[in-house]
């Protein structure tokens, strides 16, 4: 596994050499071509088009951690949403960087503790309120379905594939299709896309 380092300020490379062995610093183009799956790419927000770069690098199979001199909630969210697995201060200590690398290369997600604490402290209530708020407009649709069908419908409304639903409910893919056919008929929709749109508000509340 190799570390890549994209920034406009080469002076930072020294910090990374202290923390890691295989450090390859260079421009975005080089990294995009050279980065292999499971490599770790550290991308600075001082690079102007970093939002475009993240999905591209992720598409190569590499893991992306976004670096910022001025950590910001909005920016962190954006980074994670685009596929980054971490968001950390550019000048974080080498020990921290090692920790981040360990976590993100193992499918984990790294965000600052302040952000996490803020989220845990603040959003729990708002999520709950949301869930109680509007979950009745669509219950009329869901009430048309059987217990099992409801489970399938909600899973599909999250964007899950038949295979994923099958794994989740521990049934065969064929059975998922059977339930789906029944659901389509009952709710008078032609496919899973229309189903999502019909249940969209519900899906937004649940999500997983």
């Amino acid at each position: 596994m190799k570390h890549w380092f994209i920034t406009v300020d080469g002076s930072l490379k020294g910090r990374w050499k202290k923390a890691f062995e295989n450090v390859g610093s260079s421009g975005p183009e080089t990294v995009l071509q050279s980065a292999k799956p499971n490599d770790l790419v550290w991308l600075s927000t001082t690079v102007k088009n970093w939002p475009q770069l993240v999905p591209l690098i992720v598409a190569e199979g590499a893991v992306v951690v976004v670096l910022s001199y001025a950590p910001d909630d909005r920016e962190a969210l954006k980074a994670l949403d685009l596929g980054a697995r971490g968001y950390v201060h550019t000048l974080a200590a080498p020990e921290v960087l090692k920790q981040v690398a360990l976590v993100v290369t193992n499918q984990g997600v790294w965000v600052g503790q302040e952000l996490l604490a803020k989220v845990l402290g603040g959003s729990f209530k708002t999520l709950q309120q949301r869930n109680q708020g509007g979950s009745f407009q669509n219950s009329e649709y869901l009430s048309l379905l059987t217990e099992r069908e409801r489970g399938v419908a909600l899973a599909v409304a999250q964007g899950a594939t038949n295979k994923e639903v099958a794994r989740l409910l521990d049934i065969t893919e064929r059975t998922v299709k059977a339930h789906l056919s029944a659901i389509f008929k009952k709710l008078a929709v032609r496919d899973r896309l229309q189903l999502i749109l019909k249940l969209a508000p519900v899906a937004e509340q649940m999500s997983s």
Copy 2:
């Protein structure tokens, strides 16, 4: 370091033995007495009083990961809020379990990327709405796209098929696919289903 495993369904123990060496399955009381600092306790939500157990186990110095058959935002936040360091599907593959263990025992938090992004987005939206007008969150996604891509994305967000989009924009189906591939890459989604979910609020605004 030892793994502890609390559930009401003993049939799952086999899964854990595949993933880990030192597995100690048993009742809550035994674990509470036997668990040592830095041990890892896997706690299933099928245990009726799991919310009460989490703080108690954490107080012993052990790391807690909560297992759920039906992952859910509220439940995940509740678990983390009570002191759990991870929240994962009960039937996750052994490799995943190993990674979860690695992350949480290294001061990391495991919640899954999509969930985290969604949670952050949820709390963030409410914070932002005070300062700014409405949902610029999605126009921000759309601003990453070109003019033509935006048109395709919005059409697909209505649930249109490729053929329908082609008719609508008077281009071939092949071209629609080309634009879609670009869209998927830029917005870091795997297919049109996830795209719909990402642009759902926008679609809602348009149809209303």
